[in-house]
């Protein structure tokens, strides 16, 4: 079977490949480094070891941070999605003045630098008497991740075939019914894509969370930053390896359920 004519030249393809390898470099490296025997990088590598995984899971502060991060993500993700669904629906199917402006406002957290959001929330939470900590983190991250979810759902809704909703209306369904029985079931790709982005951001965010953590309540990202600064061994690499594997499995499962192409077209 002979290859057909390709519209791009060899050099284009090489550039694309180089870009992909560049992207994979740190991830693959950190994954392998997590299994390195020695505490410092050496070439050739000293040997294979799981000690850093023990170090990570054995570290009290990291364990605590892990529970906090998971807890935050477990609350923020469904909360964000729950809020984003009616929001996206109103934005796409509603007809009222100021819709464009409102859309801009809802998307604004994405434009505002994370640091600014973090500081603003720190001041705000202190002013409210709540102060930094778990609640502050949940509130700030929900606000910050909402645009991700809304954007994914809006894109999903733009792609829906109007005939289905029209047919339902024709048959006498109320707006609520149409939403529940016709629109919602079709939102699976958007929910999965939006949910993924929200979840990843909730676990991984640094620029906002660094302002809202306390001695007792830290997240994995803040904790690992502190660890990198103070120590210098591959414990963080072990954490990275675990997170990467976990996320890849998550995406693969969702890719099976919905189809990776669809998920990323939604973005």
């Amino acid at each position: 079977m002979r290859a057909d004519f390709t519209i791009y030249s060899r050099s284009f393809f090489m550039l694309a490949l180089l870009a992909a390898l560049f992207l994979l470099l740190p991830v693959v490296f950190i994954f392998l480094y997590a299994f390195h025997t020695g505490a410092y990088f050496s070439l050739p590598p000293e040997g294979f070891s799981l000690r850093w995984f023990y170090s990570f899971f054995g570290n009290e502060r990291f364990r605590q941070a892990m529970w906090v991060s998971i807890g935050i993500a477990a609350i923020v993700t469904p909360l964000s999605l729950l809020i984003s669904v009616p929001t996206a629906y109103s934005l796409v199917r509603g007809q009222f003045r100021g819709r464009e402006l409102l859309n801009l406002f809802i998307m604004s957290p994405l434009i505002i630098p994370g640091v600014v959001t973090g500081i603003a929330f720190l001041i705000f939470m202190s002013a409210l008497g709540i102060g930094p900590g778990f609640i502050a983190l949940v509130l700030a991250l929900t606000c910050f991740t909402l645009p991700f979810a809304v954007r994914a759902l809006v894109a999903n809704m733009h792609g829906l075939r109007p005939e289905l909703e029209e047919a339902a209306r024709n048959l006498g369904a109320s707006e609520a019914s149409v939403f529940r029985h016709v629109v919602l079931p079709q939102l699976r790709p958007g929910l999965l894509a939006g949910g993924t982005f929200v979840f990843v951001e909730a676990i991984d965010n640094f620029s906002i969370t660094v302002f809202l953590t306390t001695m007792d309540v830290t997240t994995l990202s803040v904790e690992s930053y502190g660890y990198i600064r103070d120590f210098d061994d591959p414990t963080v690499a072990a954490m990275a390896a675990v997170l990467v594997v976990f996320s890849v499995i998550l995406v693969l499962i969702m890719g099976r359920v919905v189809g990776l192409d669809k998920m990323f077209r939604v973005e």
Partner: protein
């Protein structure tokens, strides 16, 4: 436009192409002389577009050769083959004006600006769109866009003009208009052309030759009338349309002729065709045109039905077509035949439910081979 090159002959020699496990083209062989229009006709998936793209150079054949005037074009890259193509849709460069679109091919060939503009103007004149030279594609209708695409292809004086379902996106009336225009252009310029379509009506209008394709092979090759009148296989008969297909029992065969019988009608003789397949079979499929069938109230007797196929049935439907009437006749074995009869003032209309007899001359019954021409 300047003198067109004398028509270039096209030879497709045992071309094969597979994608993975699927064989898309199975040793295709076709030959046409210069200046003729060939149409590749077939259902989707038959390989016709792939073959066209092999000629254009976008798809690489696994085996076989494609020759223009005896010389193989396979080693030539697609941008140097001089095989200008008209695509089905999204053909014109949207960011360029009509005149820039038409001069594009000339620019690629280093033709000087003033000469290019002159040739482009002539090409636009040919398709009667000179007044739209400065418009942009978004301001044109579908038919106008395809005309410009045609001008853009022809202005480069290609050795072969390729067309990939060029009128598929247009509505019916426009399509028919464009088909006639294309035919006129092609014959007046004398440019060899290959067109791909799934519409047999279109193929009839624009072609000197038709290659009916199915499942990667050429089912039949010939002039439009040949294929229409004498389909060689059931596939071709059904695809070209307009034929009844009827089962006939073989009574006896003798060289190229055979004695057949349809149902319990009279025995008649028919031409068995070039292949000797008939002698080994007990029954064959016959293709009979509706207009070849006559209807009678009573069993056919007499000299005028000598040598005719006859069969009896019941009228199950009638459609008044204006100058003729189409009758649907149910046969005892459950199948039905369509007969089209000219409407004379004198004869009445056979009502539904009436028992009638059909007859057609033996020569009008075409014996269909079972398989496809290899």
């Amino acid at each position: 436009m300047g003198a067109m090159k004398k028509g270039v002959s096209l030879t497709i020699d045992a071309v094969c192409k597979s994608y993975g496990d699927v064989q898309v083209l199975k040793r295709i062989a076709l030959d046409i002389e210069g200046g003729k229009a060939l149409t590749l006709l077939g259902p989707s998936g038959c390989g016709k577009s792939t073959l066209l793209r092999i000629i254009a150079g976008f798809v690489r054949a696994d085996a076989g050769d494609v020759r223009l005037d005896g010389q193989s074009i396979l080693p030539v890259p697609p941008n140097r083959r001089e095989t200008a193509m008209v695509f089905q849709s999204y053909t014109l460069f949207p960011h360029m004006s009509v005149i820039d679109n038409v001069t594009f091919g000339l620019k690629m060939r280093q033709v000087g600006r003033s000469q290019a503009l002159q040739r482009a103007a002539e090409a636009l004149e040919m398709v009667k769109l000179s007044h739209l030279a400065d418009r942009y594609p978004s301001q044109l209708s579908g038919g106008q866009m395809q005309r410009v695409a045609l001008a853009r292809a022809l202005v480069t004086e290609p050795r072969i003009l390729l067309l990939d379902e060029p009128f598929g996106a247009l509505d019916k009336n426009l399509r028919e208009e464009m088909q006639v225009e294309l035919r006129k252009l092609q014959t007046s310029l004398g440019v060899t052309s290959v067109c791909v379509t799934h519409d047999q009506q279109e193929a009839m209008v624009i072609s000197d030759y038709i290659a009916v394709m199915n499942d990667g092979q050429v089912a039949q090759f010939g002039t439009p009338l040949d294929i229409y009148d004498t389909p060689q296989s059931e596939f071709v008969a059904r695809f070209m349309g307009g034929s009844n297909i009827v089962r006939a029992d073989v009574i006896k065969t003798q060289e190229s002729r055979c004695a057949l019988q349809v149902g319990d009608g009279r025995a008649f003789q028919a031409y068995a065709g070039a292949s000797a397949m008939v002698s080994e079979r007990k029954a064959v499929a016959l293709a009979i045109k509706p207009r070849a069938l006559q209807i009678m109230d009573m069993p056919p007797e007499g000299a005028h039905v000598n040598g005719c196929m006859t069969v009896s049935g019941v009228v199950s439907n009638q459609v008044l077509l204006g100058d003729s009437i189409a009758y649907e006749i149910s046969l005892p074995d459950g199948n039905s035949l369509l007969a089209e009869v000219a409407r004379d003032r004198g004869t009445g209309i056979h009502p539904v439910g009436k028992s009638v007899w059909l007859y057609a001359p033996g020569e009008a019954c075409v014996v269909l081979e079972d398989g496809i021409n290899a």
